[in-house]
C-alpha cells in the first residue's frame, strides 16, 4: 500500500503520459506514473514516425541517446488500384540537416528510453500495474486511483488520464463516452526485417536516411483508410488501417487486407526476402475536433489519444500527445504553485493554454474533413480513374493525343458526373 499522497498520478507511459510526468517531475512535483505493461512501451503501438519539434521542447538533446531509426528525407504518396500505383514523391537534401525534423522509431524501444528520462527527472514509475478505477468523492471530484496490485487506494491532487485510445477509466468514471466505430480506425502492422544494405539499396538511401510511403486506394476495398511502409534501420514497418465502422460493415479481415497490400505488385518487390518478427494491432482516433471530449474536471485532465488528439490528414498523433501532455503539466504546475485547488475551474487553464497552440488550431482547421473523407469513391473510383488515366497517357499505341485526352476526361465524367464536383467541394471545404 502506498500511504503517501502524490501531487499527480499519470495513468499510462506513452508519449502523452511521459511528456506530462516528465514536465511535472522536472518542476519538482511529486509524480507517480502507473503503466500496465511489463515495461513502458510493451503495450504501445505506432507506425511509427517521431516529429522532433514536440520532443525538443521537452528534451532538447534527445538525439544524443534516444533510440532513433532513420531521419526521413523522402516521402512518397501513392494512389493504388489493384495492379498499378500513381504517386507523388518529395525528396530533399534539406532534410539531411544537423537536427533532422522527422525520424522513424520503434515504439517499444523509444518509450523505454523516454521513461528512463521521466524517472531521471524524479517521477516514480511503477509498471505491471493496471489501474482499475478512479476514486471519486460523491460530488465527482477525483481524489485517487485503485490498481490491481497495490492495496487500498493511492491518493493524489490530480489524475492525468494518458490511458490511450482504448482508455477504460475515463469512460467508466463517466468523464467521457465510448468512441463511436466511425470515429476510430483499426490499424494492423507487421515488422519485416531485412539487412541494412538491402533496405538502403531498395529505397535509394544512404546511411541513416529514411523514406516513408503512404498509400490509399483499392487496397482498402472501399473503406476509409490508408496503408504505409516506413523504413527503419534493419526493418520495414508495413501496415494498413481503416475505420472500424467500415470493417464492421464490409466484414473484411484486417490481416487479409494487410496480406493483400504486401502482395500488391508495387509493394511485394520491396518486401521480398524479409523475415516477419511481429504482428501488431492498434486503434487510432480519427474523429477529429468534433470527437474531442471534455478535457478537464475536478481533479482530472485528459491528454493524448485518450482525448482523440490525432490529425488524420497530416498523420500526426504522437507529437500532439507529447504537446498535450506537456501543456497539461504546465497548467497543473501553475495551479499548484498558486496554492490553489485543482478544481475544474482552475484546471480549465489547460484548455485555455492548449487553444493557443498548433494542436487545437490544426484540430479545428480540419474539423469537417473526417466526414468528407468518409466516402468510398475516394478509395475506389478515383484511384482507378487516376491510374487508368496514367496508363492512357503513358502507353504509346498509335492513338492520337487529342483522342486520349478526351478519353480521360470522359472517363471521369462518366464515373461520377455530379458526384465529382460535390466530392471536390466537400473536401475543399473541409480543408479550408
Amino acid at each position: 500500500m502506498l500511504e503517501e499522497k502524490f501531487d499527480a498520478i499519470v495513468i499510462g507511459a506513452g508519449p502523452a503520459g511521459n511528456a506530462c510526468a516528465f514536465t511535472m517531475a522536472n518542476r519538482g512535483m511529486k509524480v507517480l506514473q502507473l503503466e500496465r505493461g511489463e515495461y513502458p512501451g510493451s503495450k504501445n503501438v505506432q507506425g511509427a514516425i517521431l516529429y522532433a519539434d514536440a520532443l525538443e521542447k521537452l528534451i532538447p538533446d534527445f538525439r544524443e541517446d534516444a533510440p532513433l531509426e532513420r531521419h526521413i528525407i523522402e516521402q512518397r504518396i501513392w494512389m493504388m488500384d489493384d495492379r498499378s500505383s500513381s504517386g507523388m514523391q518529395y525528396r530533399s537534401e534539406d532534410f539531411n540537416e544537423e537536427n533532422p525534423n522527422r525520424y522513424t522509431i520503434i515504439r517499444a524501444q523509444f518509450d523505454k528510453w523516454f521513461s528512463k528520462r521521466v524517472q531521471g527527472a524524479g517521477a516514480l514509475v511503477i509498471c505491471e500495474t493496471t489501474v482499475t478505477e478512479l476514486v471519486q468523492e460523491p460530488d465527482g471530484r477525483v481524489i485517487g486511483v485503485r490498481t490491481d496490485r497495490i492495496g487500498g487506494f493511492i491518493k493524489c491532487d490530480v489524475v492525468v488520464l494518458a490511458e490511450g485510445v482504448n482508455g477504460l477509466l475515463g469512460e467508466r468514471a463517466g468523464l467521457r463516452g465510448v468512441p463511436s466505430p466511425s470515429s476510430v480506425a483499426l490499424a494492423v502492422k507487421e515488422m519485416h526485417f531485412l539487412p541494412r544494405e538491402t533496405i538502403e539499396s531498395r529505397f535509394n538511401l544512404t546511411g541513416d536516411e529514411g523514406l516513408v510511403i503512404e498509400a490509399a486506394g483499392t487496397i482498402t476495398k472501399g473503406m476509409t483508410g490508408t496503408a504505409f511502409i516506413y523504413t527503419n534501420k534493419e526493418s520495414l514497418s508495413v501496415g494498413i488501417g481503416c475505420l472500424i465502422s467500415d470493417f464492421a460493415e464490409t466484414k473484411e479481415t484486417p490481416y487479409g487486407l494487410l496480406e493483400n497490400f504486401a502482395a500488391h505488385p508495387s509493394v511485394a518487390p520491396l518486401l521480398i526476402g524479409s523475415e516477419i518478427k511481429e504482428y501488431a494491432a492498434h486503434m487510432i482516433p480519427e474523429g477529429g475536433y468534433k470527437a474531442i471530449p471534455k478535457l478537464f474536471g475536478d481533479g482530472w485532465v485528459i491528454v493524448g489519444d485518450a482525448g482523440q488528439f490525432v490529425n488524420a490528414v497530416h498523420r500526426e498523433g504522437s507529437n500532439l500527445a507529447m504537446t498535450t501532455g506537456r501543456i497539461a503539466a504546465e497548467a497543473i504546475f501553475q495551479v499548484k504553485s498558486r496554492r490553489e485547488a485543482p478544481t475544474a475551474e482552475n484546471l480549465s487553464l489547460y484548455k485555455k493554454m492548449l487553444d493557443e497552440t498548433f494542436v487545437m488550431k490544426d484540430m479545428k482547421k480540419y474539423k469537417d474533413l473526417p466526414k468528407a473523407l468518409h466516402n468510398k469513391h475516394l478509395f475506389t473510383t478515383y484511384p482507378k480513374l487516376l491510374n487508368q488515366a496514367m496508363q492512357t497517357w503513358f502507353r504509346v499505341d498509335g492513338i492520337d493525343k487529342k483522342s486520349k485526352e478526351n478519353e480521360i476526361a470522359k472517363s471521369f465524367v462518366k464515373s461520377r458526373r455530379f458526384g465529382l464536383l460535390s466530392d471536390m467541394f466537400s473536401i475543399a471545404r473541409g480543408w479550408r
Partner: protein
C-alpha cells in the same frame, strides 16, 4: 472450437511471432451467453485482428482471447450493446510487444 477458413489459419501464423504472457483461467474479455449471435458479434468473427472470435458448433460466437493484442476494436463494436464484457488483463499479463 473449430476455426474455419484459410485466413484464420494465416492469422494464427502471424500471432505466432508475438510474445504473450497469458493469465491462464482469467480471460479479460467475455462474450455474453446468447442463443443467436447479434450482428455485432458476427462482425467480430471477421473484424478482430487476432481472429479471437469464432463460431462454435452450435452457431454461437465464442472467444479465446489468448492471442488478443488489446486493441479494443471489439469493445468499440460490441461493448455498449452488452454483447461482450471487456477489461484489461492484470498488470504485466497479455501481449508484450517487442517492437510495437
Amino acid at each position: 472450437m473449430a476455426i474455419s477458413g484459410g485466413t484464420a489459419a494465416r492469422v494464427e501464423e502471424k500471432l505466432f511471432q508475438n510474445r504473450y504472457l497469458v493469465d491462464a483461467g482469467r480471460p479479460h474479455i467475455k462474450v455474453t451467453p446468447h442463443a443467436v449471435p447479434s450482428d455485432a458479434l458476427v462482425a467480430l468473427t471477421k473484424v478482430c485482428p487476432a481472429g479471437c472470435y469464432a463460431f462454435n458448433d452450435s452457431g454461437q460466437v465464442e472467444i479465446i482471447p489468448d492471442g488478443c493484442m488489446e486493441c479494443g476494436t471489439c469493445r468499440v463494436i460490441a461493448e455498449l450493446s452488452g454483447d461482450i464484457e471487456w477489461n484489461y488483463p492484470r498488470g504485466g499479463y497479455g501481449v508484450l510487444f517487442k517492437f510495437g
